[in-house]
Amino acid sequence: MTRPHSQAERDYTVADDAQLVEWAKDDSAAFGELYERYVQKIYNYVYYRTGNHHDAEDLTSRVFFRALGHIDGYVDRGVPFSAWLYRIAHNLVANWHRDRGRQKVVPLDDYLPSGLHFDAPEAMAESSEEQERLLLSIRELPAERQQLLILKFVERLSNAEIGEIMDRTEGAIKSLYHRTLLSLRGALDQDEDSSGGASERRWKRFGL
């Protein structure tokens, strides 16, 4: 790989992450390109781990400032750069939960998933309630299972890509995914039973 001598010769948009990281050690524009590539991914991860935009912004800022502060000590060990960012985000979110205690409320006022559509208004209300319950159940899962779901469904990554980020084999990710679905279903059924409803009702309600 040829390395341009001056910053003016560098084409940040076509450079791969490893090259950008090397440049970013003494070139803030290179770090800016890395930031552009990953800010939304990190924001999404933090948002679904915290449940609100305010803390998502705060923690996303901290992730990138910490990354900037440690970029000159970054060693490429063959894992994606994003894995390093996710690790930082994971640690900061863990600290956030530790400092604040587990938050029980997911504000959904400004969050409107576009997937579920019903003709009847009452079905729409039930849908919103189900979504909130599902999000709450997701946030009750262990951190690594939450991360798996976020990477799979929000970032749409393959099991192999998720494995690289989470430092696991593809098979381990499949297994973890299966266990996560089972535990999530169990949590939802338990929640439904405790609220007096029949667990089968939910599944039929969506008509899927």
Partner: protein
């Protein structure tokens, strides 16, 4: 056509994999898990940070100098464990050597002071 190399959509391919993975489950259980997976794909959708936030943070990062926010402790913690251990041992050895080297002149000075004091007394 969004996926020209495959006749299946990603969701269908994903569902097929899930079916294959969970062959030991009963049909009813499988259907529930597939429903749950579809619900997840509808609920866990990408969210977009505000443009103002993204731009503001970008400006802050670009004007910051790499490494300027690291404390001395963070810099040391960033070193590999072996280097930290070697630095610790080296530092302790150097400190002990300086103490030992400085001990003799100090003790000699103390002896001299005591002897002068006893003579004058």
């Amino acid at each position: 056509m969004p996926f020209p190399f495959s006749k299946k959509s990603p969701q269908d391919a994903f569902n097929d994999l899930l079916w294959a993975q969970m062959q030991r489950q009963s049909d009813a259980q499988l259907e529930e898990l597939l429903t749950l997976a579809r619900l997840l794909s509808q609920v866990l959708v990408p969210v977009k940070p505000s443009d103002a936030f993204v731009e503001d943070l970008r400006q802050q990062l670009l004007t910051a100098t790499p490494g300027e926010r690291r404390t001395w402790y963070e810099r040391v913690r960033q070193l590999p464990p072996g280097v930290q251990l070697a630095a610790g041992i080296g530092g302790a050895t150097l400190t002990a050597g300086v103490v030992l080297a400085a001990r003799r002149p100090v003790m000699d000075a103390l002896d001299l002071w005591r002897s002068r004091r006893s003579i004058s007394a």
